[in-house]
């Protein structure tokens, strides 16, 4: 039950990338309709821990505050989610907040999600349209395709799916579900489809689509409800078809 005078936070902190993590507890005054960010802002305003000792304010990252930018991902009470859309009233106390474990910690709750952006580059998650002259309008996308493709475009590279995936870790090269799902998105685009093979071949490299082990945790934790496992299975189909065509020949 949420307390109506104070909120109990247990935060996993870290001074910098190289130092050891530790836990620090805080009590912050309760207001109605608070989210994790507003609770952290209270700590920032009054950086005193549960024992009444002055401490450094807890550092976190957040931008949009409306669950579209993906920067405030944290592990909250054991699940990776967005701090902005996680409401205090819906959580059990004490609230345990940790940085995502998949990415290197910069400080406290700030992690470096660079590996996801590197993966997006690796799989060519864009549509090349630049030329030396005006190429004119591209082909139209069918409304039916647009409807499911729009769902995939909601991916905000937040990293929750990588955090939950048992095959994304230091021993495994797996790039994770998020960048793979983008391949399905850009391959579905009528102009993007012109470079379909390049993306398929990129995900047939190390850490690509076959490293998925079908635990399907990704689709359970995705804050945007993206059908990640459908994307992965569909890419498996694209890879199978591509492999047959590449080996036996196609026109």
């Amino acid at each position: 039950m949420p307390s109506h005078d104070k909120i109990h936070l247990i935060i996993r902190r870290q001074k910098d990338a190289a130092s050891a993590p530790y836990h620090e507890e805080f009590y912050v005054p309760y207001r109605t309709n608070m989210n994790i960010i507003s609770a952290l802002m209270e700590v920032q305003k009054h950086p005193v821990n549960r024992n009444g000792e002055g401490t450094t304010p807890v550092i976190w990252e957040s931008v949009c505050l409306e669950e579209v930018c993906g920067s405030c991902s944290m592990v909250i009470n054991g699940k990776p989610r967005q701090a902005c859309s996680t409401l205090i009233d819906q959580l059990e106390q004490p609230i345990r907040i940790e940085p995502l474990s998949t990415f290197p910690v910069v400080r406290d709750l700030v992690v470096d999600r660079q590996r996801m952006f590197d993966s997006l580059k690796k799989v060519k998650a864009w549509i090349p349209i630049d030329g030396t002259h005006d190429l004119g309008p591209g082909p139209r996308m069918a409304e039916k395709t647009r409807q499911w493709a729009y769902e995939l475009s909601k991916c905000m590279t937040c990293g929750c799916c990588l955090e939950a995936c048992p095959n994304v870790n230091h021993q495994s090269p797996f790039m994770g579900p998020a960048p793979l799902s983008q391949v399905r998105l850009f391959n579905a685009h009528p102009t993007g489809a012109m470079h379909k093979e390049e993306r398929i071949e990129a995900i047939m490299g190390e850490g690509g689509i076959t490293t998925c082990g079908n635990s399907q945790n990704c689709v359970e934790v995705c804050p945007k409800g993206i059908p990640l496992t459908t994307s992965l299975a569909h890419l498996n189909r694209q890879v199978t078809i591509h492999s047959f065509k590449a080996f036996f020949g196609s026109y």
Partner: protein, 204 residues
């Protein structure tokens, strides 16, 4: 590193070899074993057909041993790459992911022991491959228990492996088709387990 560079090919071969030929062989093997429930004579006849197939060593090498040990050894490499997290994410499919790895390791140990007790003894130590060979092994209750665990593990690994195979090759893409294939493979697990366990109990 070669292993990493050709990861895609190895993973695909791993997925394929688990079903064809290893899974198919497992099914045939369990069916042959089942004849033991009809008595010694029936089992010796059925096993006799398998033992007297032409080009036996060729078939054994390319249908059983090479694909099976490739699948097993590469599978161990895959299994130990995972950081299992059912404690934090206790979803059914995550449990199935963990069980697939546990049963894979059990099956690897069991099958290697089983080959030592049967095939190696027959080939190198002049033991006759018949009903009595198995009956003597499972006469020991600990061996019998290990056999039952081994058979059920192998069958689970195969049945759940079909479910993942269908995804890995892009056959079941929609959540609905993956759900239906989960029920079908669960049914297969139950049926093959009954066949396998009834067969081993016929020797005990």
């Amino acid at each position: 590193m070669e292993l990493r560079k050709n990861q895609h090919l190895y993973r695909k071969l791993h997925s394929l070899s688990g079903i064809i030929p290893v899974g198919v062989f497992l099914t045939v093997h369990l069916f042959v074993n089942y004849t033991a429930t009809w008595g010694q004579e029936a089992y010796n006849t059925a096993a006799g057909i398998m033992v007297n197939l032409p080009f036996k060593y060729f078939l054994e090498a390319f249908i059983i041993f090479i694909p099976m040990y490739f699948h097993a050894i590469y599978g161990i490499y895959i299994a130990f790459q995972a950081k299992n997290n059912v404690g934090r994410y206790g979803y059914t499919r995550n449990w199935k992911f963990l069980l697939q790895r546990i049963t894979g390791v059990i099956t690897f140990i069991f099958v290697t022991w089983h080959i030592w007790e049967t095939k190696i003894q027959v080939e190198f130590f002049g033991v006759d491959a018949n009903y009595h060979l198995m009956a003597n092994i499972v006469d020991n209750p600990i061996s019998l228990i290990f056999y039952i665990i081994g058979i059920v593990s192998a069958v689970y690994h195969f049945a759940n492996g079909i479910w993942t195979f269908l995804i890995t090759w892009g056959i079941t893409v929609s959540p609905k088709s993956q759900k239906v294939s989960a029920y079908i493979t669960l049914g297969l697990f139950v049926v093959l387990s009954i066949i396998g366990v009834r067969a081993i109990l016929a020797f005990a």
